[in-house]
Amino acid sequence: MNYVIIGGSAAGVTAAETIRKQDKESSVTLISDEEFALYSRCLLTYFIAGTINEDKLYFKDKNFYKENDVKTYLGKKAVSIDRKKKSVSLEGGTKISYDKLLIATGATPKSVDIPGIEKKGVFTVRKIDDARAIINMLDSVKEIAVLGGGLIGLRDAYALRQRDKKVTVIVKSPQVLSQMVDMDAARVIASILEKNGIKIMTGVAAKEITGKGSVEGILLDNGERLACQLVVIGKGVKPNTEIASVAGLKVEDGIVVNEFLQTSDKDIFAAGDVAETYDIARESKRINALWPCAIEQGEVAALNMLGEKKTYDGSLSMNSVDFFGLASISMGITKPKEEKKYEIISRTGENSYKKFILKDNRIVGMVLVGDIRPAGVVSALIKNKIDVSSIKEKIVDDNFNYAKIMPVVKEFGDKFKQEEFRDTVLSFK
């Protein structure tokens, strides 16, 4: 068998590892358009902040490819797939034939369509080269503007503030993290950022990036001008579906896959930020471009490439951030559109905020700011779709923990997918 994987990040590398664990004979080939391999993109903002050095960016051993006998084409972009001949073409003309192919091409940062975007000093943060370029510029930069007040924008701003730069975040919405949390939680998070010297401007957008060759400032849509020497666009990502759509695979928001992560071609699979999978909380298709989802999908796709019939349980949106010691976690549906269909249980403290979103007595989402201890236990209730009517009142309590759900574990034992749940209630009568 010839297994070919396009993409060298979380999903692609996990797939290569999973295949090799079970099949020592077949050939496994991995193609990545980046030369620097096996690094974790999620760590790039820590790298920019100066918290870690390049050596700590690896999420696998440096010798991973060698040790797992994976043939690599690094720094080579896959440009097309010939489904009839079952081969992948690389830039420069090399052709690689496959029996089973995984598309794990990931995503690209969204840009903004404003004049001046091409100037020197405008960045997105997605690849190691972006991070290196930003770090190289830092000495000559005093003021930085970050466009976007979502998770990506705030993470970028937090990293740069740790380099003692004057950072301003420009947010189109009336609040930060508008897709993730409501106004109350956003206020708590924004206030810790501002207390630590990050300026947040809401309800405004950048109209133009000004300067001669390099960035000198930003013109805002309210007429204000902002001096800055570096602009970081942190506005989310879009999936790299082009190679799939050109090959005639079914693509909607992302590459459409079935429960086996198989695309509309039975020999081609997709995983990670490029794949549109079943979302557990929303019960519909969605791209959840997140590290844990990419790892899970890489594994499940690989098992199916190997011929096992392994069903993917589905993805779940989830995020964890920590700004200046204030931890926040969000999961599933956090801002339901039709509020009437949901039950909301929440509690606001001085520096903390908890919100649980329920539908038909099942938790489908949560937001925790400050105290994140209950997150994991609640994540199990969400993932396993557990009826929580008997413990509902307890979930906002300060001491809500695993023990509080044990009666439910006892009652619905089989609904919890991991065996370890049952181990904990063996003596619980």
Partner: protein
């Protein structure tokens, strides 16, 4: 109670809590913190800065109590969520290992641990979890310290046998 047994090193063996016997005395918590102190001596450990961190907690289930720690899940959600490569599986022993050098304190593991068994070490800004007492050759510190025999090291079959015997 097994106290002087060799520390178990196979996949099938884990630490169980017999809920009918746990009285919530927190001896397991103290023993765990001491085991993870620099001195490994309780009188010196209480003066260490930062204070050593426990990796086991006693929690109430109504009137009952459980001593709970990392279950070293076979298919561990924390390992899949860890984006820095700090969490990994020891294929031989089945232990879920945490490398504090690689941990950046992103709390992705806290977010997905179904047992709430990974907590934040705020002073050092890293995650903390049960590491199965790597410095010990004898039984785990929490199990050894348990005065009621609620904590038990063994296979599932052995534990089931133990709790069946107790009912007669």
């Amino acid at each position: 109670m097994k106290t002087k047994d060799q520390k178990p090193k196979t996949k099938d063996i884990k630490i169980y809590c017999d809920i009918t016997k746990c009285v919530g005395c927190r001896s397991c918590e103290i023993a765990c913190a001491v085991e993870h102190s620099k001195s490994k001596d309780i009188f010196s450990a209480v003066r260490e800065k930062p204070l050593p961190k426990k990796r086991v907690t006693t929690e109430n289930i109504g009137a009952k109590i459980i001593s709970l720690h990392c279950q070293h899940c076979e298919d561990a959600p924390c390992i899949k969520a860890c984006m820095s490569g700090a969490l990994s599986k020891d294929e031989k022993t089945g232990a879920t290992l945490h490398d504090k050098e690689k941990c950046v304190g992103c709390w992705m593991c806290v977010m997905v641990c179904p047992f709430g068994a990974i907590v934040r070490d705020i002073e050092n800004h890293i995650a903390v979890k049960c590491d199965l007492c790597p410095d010990r050759d004898e039984d785990y510190a929490c199990v050894e310290a348990c005065p009621t025999g609620a904590l038990f090291t063994g296979t599932k079959e052995e534990f089931e046998k133990k709790i069946k015997g107790r009912k007669k």
